[in-house]
């Protein structure tokens, strides 16, 4: 029995949030702070020739930073050194930063920006990913003999699916404030960010200083969803270079328009399936080809592709699988991290393919899922065996029981009922928790806990809070492991000057990986205190902790992540246990489609999710509801298009996300199949709910209209075109 895990704690930082006292980066601008901005490329491809400075403007009041002024390396540190902080000659995408400007106030800054003209020589941009030649990363997964299995399969279905980009739309735009080098040689940056140590490494290389001299502090962060994983390094480098030039703190805070126009979004994808199956719809062969548009620079694309490839065959058992994934270079604004990280794209494709097979075989989609779902003991596409914590059957059973979907005559002819058509749809999916393959082994995440003088336990980690509930979840885990109450735990603010590198706050890894380290550290600390005072000794936790410290006890425990034993991963062959554990889920959606406007309204949403253990059920439900609504938005209303390499939806008025009226009532059914190496059985939950919504909505629209939906977002324009193609008699 747990005492704190599984209960409902108040968010420790919640009172500040509901009263407006929480300090986001723009709320805490130091006195004398200057304002900075990047001058950006007006073309998607070309060459930078120079800048023309209007002589009517007095440039002595501002500072300028050019590529040549960068003291360190002119790259944004990430995976591959191909993205310059400032372009020096070649221009690879619209909006690429070319020159930095800062001034003592906004008005002067705006005037300076207007007084600078960029001279470029434009060349033809490459904007079609199918025509791209530069491949950032290719991954091939091979299991069994796919060609033979396809050749001998009684039925083969070949289809192609597309997903467009999607904007994270955290409500707080990107921003950072940098201070010039202090007397002790330290450069401080405070910002809205997910990964303080990524920013630290980027600053160290740009400024040519020791990493320890770049101190990065996370301000309260108004949402991230992956969008504040890699891009804050760009903002921070710009702010720090300007602060160095100005000798003053400099704030670089994006307005919504700039944020939408230049920050990375979800990779557009094209996924091709060739699937062999028998009369009963059992999968015999899966041949999948995944193509992602990476945009102009590598950024995190190789890792996004990795997750896309590993999840491309879905949560299904099949002995012959080939997955070929590529992410290519175009002259689009670089695409990057967004909750789900490649999985939502491939999940859409494989789930639609399963529905298509169901239609071909005249099977109910739920029957087809149950027949093919991965179960305990099966092997995944990468040939890893599922040894424990597989909630697939239970999520399917729960959602089907709750919704009665099996009795719904999916895509069967029904009497047409007026201009509003209703439909129901379904999806089944999984999501690997933690970094892929050997990622966690290389990362060696660290957490440390320390008894403060007052006997409270401080938790030091680089895991950030940006809404998902890191602080609350860590408080619960630490209190549970220390066998005390939440008031005896203090999760300290992520500050690279004070916390160890726990790795980035991404990939649904914070609870399972970092939380696991935290539980170990706290258990060890508790054992030390018990050994000193004797188990069951008198007094509160704090009193005993103080006595332990007074007697010279070592109140600090650091733990480094150790992978569960027996995990094997071959990175060359992309074979083995891709993740220590998977979350499993099924989504159910009911829609109504208006045949005059082709608007789709979401009437009901149910999700059954196996999270291993819900450390804080209210937070877990909040993650599932929020993530699912993002997925529903991705399915039909969130449009991100481009023209000539520019995002068309670069204002909040056009880049729409679901409002209260677009959101359906939602129901979450939690399943807990504990994972023995996760804290109290917990696996990740952050990204999973992003994967299944889009195919479930497409399935429901297909049910309502009888037309197949192979691309999201299924906008009214696209639905109208598909409907009229199927019903030419309705065309005027």
């Amino acid at each position: 029995m747990t005492r704190v895990v599984g209960t409902r704690l108040r968010r420790p930082e919640g009172p500040d949030k509901v009263t407006g006292r929480a300090m986001y980066v723009a709320d805490d601008v130091p006195v004398g702070c200057w304002w900075g901005k990047a001058i950006r490329s007006p073309v998607a491809h070309g060459e930078l020739l120079g800048f023309e400075l209007d002589p009517a403007f007095d440039f002595s009041q501002v500072v300028l930073v050019r590529a040549a002024d960068i003291p360190g390396v002119n790259v944004v540190d990430l995976i591959v050194d191909d993205q310059p902080i400032l372009a020096s000659d070649a221009i690879e995408h619209w909006g690429q930063p070319l020159l930095l400007v800062a001034a003592a106030d906004q008005a002067t800054l705006d005037a300076a920006v207007r007084a600078i003209d960029v001279r470029v020589r434009e060349s033809e941009p490459l904007l079609d990913m199918e025509a791209a030649e530069v491949v950032f990363k290719e991954i091939v997964i091979d299991k069994g003999d796919v060609d033979a299995a396809l050749a001998s399969a009684p039925h083969v279905l070949r289809r192609t699916y597309h997903t467009d980009s999607q904007e994270q739309m955290y409500i707080e735009p990107q921003g950072a404030i940098a201070w010039p080098e202090a007397a002790d040689g330290t450069v401080l940056v405070r910002g809205s960010l997910q990964c303080p140590y990524y920013v630290q490494r980027a600053l160290a290389r740009a400024l040519d200083i020791e990493p320890a001299r770049a101190r990065v502090v996370q301000a309260a962060t108004g949402g991230g969803f992956g969008g504040k994983e890699e891009y804050p390094s760009v903002v921070a480098c710009h702010a720090a270079l300007l602060a160095r030039a100005a000798g003053q703190p400099v704030a670089v805070i994006y307005d919504r328009h700039e944020d939408l126009a230049v920050t990375p979004k979800r990779h557009p994808a094209r996924v091709r399936h060739a699937t062999g199956y028998d009369d009963d719809g059992r999968l015999l062969a899966m041949d999948v080809d995944v193509l992602l548009d990476g945009g102009a620079f590598t950024t995190l694309s190789p890792v996004v592709l990795s997750r896309a490839a590993i999840h491309a065959a879905g949560a299904y058992r099949c002995d012959a699988v080939r997955i070929r994934g590529r992410v290519v270079k175009t002259n689009h604004v670089p695409y990057g991290a967004f909750r789900g990280f490649g999985a939502p794209q491939v999940c859409f494709a494989v789930e639609r393919q399963m529905d298509a097979i169901a239609r071909e075989r005249d099977l109910h989609p739920a029957t087809l899922r149950k027949r093919n779902a991965l179960r305990l003991g099966d092997t995944t596409a990468t040939s890893g065996r599922l040894e424990e914590s597989v909630g697939s059957e239970e999520v399917l059973a729960k959602i089907l029981e709750r919704t009665g979907f099996e009795d719904h005559p999916w895509c069967q002819p029904r009497p047409a009922a007026g201009r509003k058509r209703r439909g129901a749809g379904f999806s089944f999916f999984f999501h690997g928790a933690g970094f892929t393959g050997a990622g966690e082994v290389h990362l060696k995440a660290k957490v440390d806990v320390r008894l403060a003088a007052d006997g409270r336990c401080e938790v030091h980690s680089a895991s950030t809070e940006f809404g998902q509930g890191t602080v609350t979840m860590f408080t619960a885990i630490a209190a549970e492991a220390l066998e005390t109450g939440p008031d005896d735990v203090l999760v300290v603010e992520p500050d690279t000057g004070a916390v160890p590198d726990s790795g980035p706050t991404v990939a649904s890894r914070t609870c399972m990986v970092v939380g696991g380290c935290l539980a170990r550290a706290c258990r060890e600390l508790r054992a030390r205190i018990d050994a000193h005072g004797g188990q069951g000794a008198e007094g509160s936790f704090r009193e005993r902790a103080r006595a332990f410290l007074a007697a010279g006890g070592d109140g600090r425990v650091e733990v480094t992540y150790a992978s569960p034993p027996g995990l094997v991963w071959d990175d060359e062959r992309y074979e083995g246990d891709a993740y220590p554990a998977y979350g499993w889920a099924a989504d159910y959606v009911e829609v109504e489609v208006d045949l005059d406007t082709f608007e789709v309204s979401m009437e009901r949403f149910v999700s059954a999710v196996d999270v291993g253990k819900a450390i804080q059920p209210q937070l877990v439900e909040g993650q599932i509801e929020g993530g699912s609504l993002q997925a529903l938005g991705f399915a039909h209303i969130e449009v991100v298009g481009t023209k000539d390499g520019r995002f068309l939806q670069d204002r909040m008025a056009t880049c729409i996300i679901p409002t209260t009226l677009d959101a359906p009532p939602m129901e979450v059914l939690l399943v807990e199949e504990p994972f023995s190496h996760g804290p109290y059985g917990a696996k990740g939950v952050g990204e999973l709910p992003m994967d299944g919504g889009a195919p479930a909505v497409a399935s429901a629209i297909e049910d309502a209209l009888g037309i197949s939906i192979d691309r999201v977002p299924a906008t009214p324009e696209r639905l109208a075109a598909a409907w009229l193609a199927a019903h030419p008699e309705e065309a005027l």
Binding site: T19, I171, I657
Partner: protein, 165 residues
């Protein structure tokens, strides 16, 4: 030569009279945040789409990013900072948001809470659909709105049992 068009205004902010010199086109949000230091009101878009900047003017919820600062002359303005009770005690709506999981990243929260106070002022017992209609101008990307709607219903229930929003 630049002409000084600025004007002196005075208005009531969270219960106390404030005076300020403002430009004709100055936005209320800038007056509140940059001049008066009340940073609880957030800017998510600056164009009237997100509602993070919502404040009450004479009890009505307005987007302070679109509202001209000079127009608050002589009026009563309430921001998120003005909702707490004595000794920073949480108001019933704030408490309901906290207890109900209605705040995640928190950036939409001040605007949501302020819009809720305006709603409950007009309609003390809103249905779920009244709430959804009233909050359609307040975007939240984190929660999916479920726990927000529930929190508001629970706040309304508490308030109808006695208390002030």
């Amino acid at each position: 030569m630049t002409i000084d068009n600025s004007m002196q205004i005075s208005f009531e902010l969270n219960g106390s009279m404030r005076r300020a010199r403002v430009e004709p086109h100055e936005r209320l949000i800038d007056l509140l945040r940059d001049v008066l230091g009340e940073t609880g009101t957030k800017e998510g878009c600056g164009e009237g789409e997100c509602g993070a900047c919502t404040v009450l003017v004479e009890g009505r919820a307005v987007n302070s990013c679109l509202f001209p600062a000079p127009e608050v002359e002589g009026l009563r303005v309430v921001t998120i900072e003005g909702l707490c009770g004595e000794g920073l005690q949480l108001s019933p709506v704030q408490a309901a948001f906290l207890e109900g999981g209605a705040t995640q990243c928190g950036f939409c929260t001040p605007g949501m809470v302020v819009s809720t106070v305006a709603l409950l002022g007009e309609n003390p017992a809103p249905s779920a659909s009244d709430i959804r209609n009233a909050l359609t101008g307040n975007l939240c990307r984190c929660t999916g709105y479920v726990q927000i709607v529930e929190a508001i219903q629970s706040a309304a229930a508490k308030l109808s049992a006695g208390g002030e929003a």
